[in-house]
């Protein structure tokens, strides 16, 4: 590692170390019986990792997010392209989307339980609801933002509608779609934890509630929170990789 890179990561690492040290100090000085020290958190996480339950919970959460987000992308991207391209579709559908979008996904929990009961379908539905709207909105505005000179050039060469769509509209919007996916996956990961708190038997959200209810295991509560944060970071990093594709990167050049 070059000294320059080392210097770049030194300050954030120092902040994290400071927070952990403060946390440790406060817990030791107050002699808290419930709130764990950082070491107890690590030990608790290690115990769950060894007996395998941690991986089951992570897998369950990721599966729900993957399904809900995948369905949302499959609906939102074609719908967004259509709404962006066809003025009538935009005028007809945009107002209802704009109205539904600011409703917190948490507000849908009672309806999810009413419609789908307590099971895997409810959290998937909530994730779908939470990530579909940002992706529709982002894709639609991406179509609206296509520069006219590109559409004119395509018209000048007299290409078919299929070619226009495949070679101009979709690639022009792709960077916006990737932005939408980043927002979508971020919201989906936020929502899965909340959704899993409604009485399921698996997932990181369940793990948090269960650890608290089963004898105030706050070491596991905090361990879950940190793991949720780290996985969220990885999901965001994975969608950021999409920005490196040559067909997307043009947008970020210069």
């Amino acid at each position: 590692m070059t000294p320059r890179r080392l210097a770049r990561i030194a300050s954030p690492v120092a902040v994290i170390a400071l927070v952990v040290a403060l946390w440790w100090l406060v817990v030791v000085r107050t002699e808290s019986a419930i709130f764990p020290t950082p070491w107890q958190v690590v030990a608790g996480a290690w115990q769950l990792a060894v007996d395998g339950t941690l991986w089951e919970h992570i897998g369950a959460s990721l599966l729900r997010v993957g399904t809900g987000f995948g369905l949302a992308a499959a609906v939102a991207i074609p719908l967004g392209l259509w709404m962006g391209w066809v003025g009538g579709a935009y005028r007809t559908l945009n107002p209802i989307f704009q109205m539904l979008r600011p409703i917190s996904p948490i507000a849908w929990i009672p309806i999810a339980i009413l419609w789908f009961g307590v099971g895997d379908v409810s959290p998937i539905f909530l994730i779908f609801i939470s990530s579909v709207f940002p992706m529709v909105v982002q894709t639609t505005s991406g179509v609206h933002a296509i520069e006219r000179r590109y559409l004119r050039a395509a018209a000048n060469f007299g290409v078919s509608r299929a070619v226009l769509f495949r070679r101009v509209v979709v690639p022009a919007v792709l960077p916006e779609i990737v932005v939408g996916m980043r927002i979508g996956i971020g919201v989906a990961w936020l929502v899965v934890v909340a959704a899993e708190m409604i009485a399921l038997r698996s997932g990181l959200g369940y793990l948090i509630m269960d650890s608290r209810n089963a004898g105030n295991r706050y070491d596991l509560v905090i361990a879950s929170m940190i793991i949720i944060g780290l996985i969220g970071l990885c999901l965001d990093g994975a969608t950021r990789l999409l920005e490196r594709l040559p067909t997307v990167r043009w947008r970020y050049a210069r």
Binding site: R149, R152, A153, A155, F157, G158, V159, V168, T247, W250
Partner: protein, 247 residues
């Protein structure tokens, strides 16, 4: 006299503005012969670009007609390709993909060969796989020119094509264009505010009046190429055009 390649008759155009109707083009008529290079110069904001858009089929006139090869202009098409100041090279496609954009899809191999031929013609050999962001402004202009030439257009509509380039590259691209036109005879309609550019390249220079615009004067440029801008003939012509423009 042979029939005109492009015939414009009594074209008028007005736009709605905040203060009412703004007449932009006030009855313009012009003819461009097959293979002729006509430059149109005029003060900025006089409606030059609007006129070109109408001739190329991107806009419809309020009155008057545009015919190309005797048939009414019904809209843009590969017969006449527009090259504009801002450029429209697709940034998400490579140079070769850009050049192949206007070619029909079924003969991939032949299309790629044709694209590479024109890439070489404009001096882009070795850059076929590059993305536009990796190219300079002058090279982007070459891509745009090659992409137009690949579809073998009969007419090139150029709207201040080189004005966004630096002065040196501007001069270089003029010569490149003339060299290519020597090899492939196109009819060219050039819009510019650069009188020297017009005198250097065109067979005929038309001067537009301020808005609402009409054709104010026409100069034939009967000088052999390559021309020298410092020659007395070129200088005299330049003076005459500038005088029409009131400069």
């Amino acid at each position: 006299m042979p029939a005109s390649k492009i015939a414009v008759r009594g074209v008028r155009k007005a736009f709605a503005s905040a203060t009412g109707v703004l007449p932009v083009i006030d009855g313009v008529g012009l003819d461009v012969a097959d293979g002729e290079f006509v430059a149109i110069v005029g003060p900025s904001g006089c409606g030059k670009s609007t006129l070109l858009n109408i001739v190329a089929g991107f806009e419809t006139p309020d009155a008057g007609t545009v015919t190309v090869d005797g048939a009414p202009q019904r809209g843009p098409g590969p017969k006449g390709i527009v090259i504009s100041q801002h450029g429209s090279v697709f940034p998400w496609l490579t140079v070769q993909q850009n050049l192949m954009f206007g070619l029909a899809g079924e003969h991939r191999r032949e299309n790629a060969a044709l694209a590479d031929h024109y890439a070489a013609l404009v001096g882009l050999k070795g850059f076929e796989a590059s993305y536009p962001r990796e190219l300079s402004g002058g090279m982007l202009k070459r891509v745009e020119l090659a992409r137009a030439l690949v579809v073998k257009p009969e007419i090139l509509y150029m709207d201040e094509p080189f004005s966004a380039l630096d002065a040196l590259m501007n001069l270089r691209m003029r010569n490149e264009l003339l060299r290519i036109l020597d090899e492939e005879r196109h009819t060219v309609l050039l819009i510019t505010h650069d009188v020297e550019e017009a005198v250097y390249m065109a067979d005929r220079v038309l001067v537009l009046s301020p808005r609402p615009t009409t054709i104010q004067a026409s100069f034939a440029v009967d000088l052999p190429r390559p021309r020298r801008l410092s020659s007395p003939e070129c200088q005299a012509l330049r003076e005459a055009v500038l005088k029409e423009l009131g400069v």
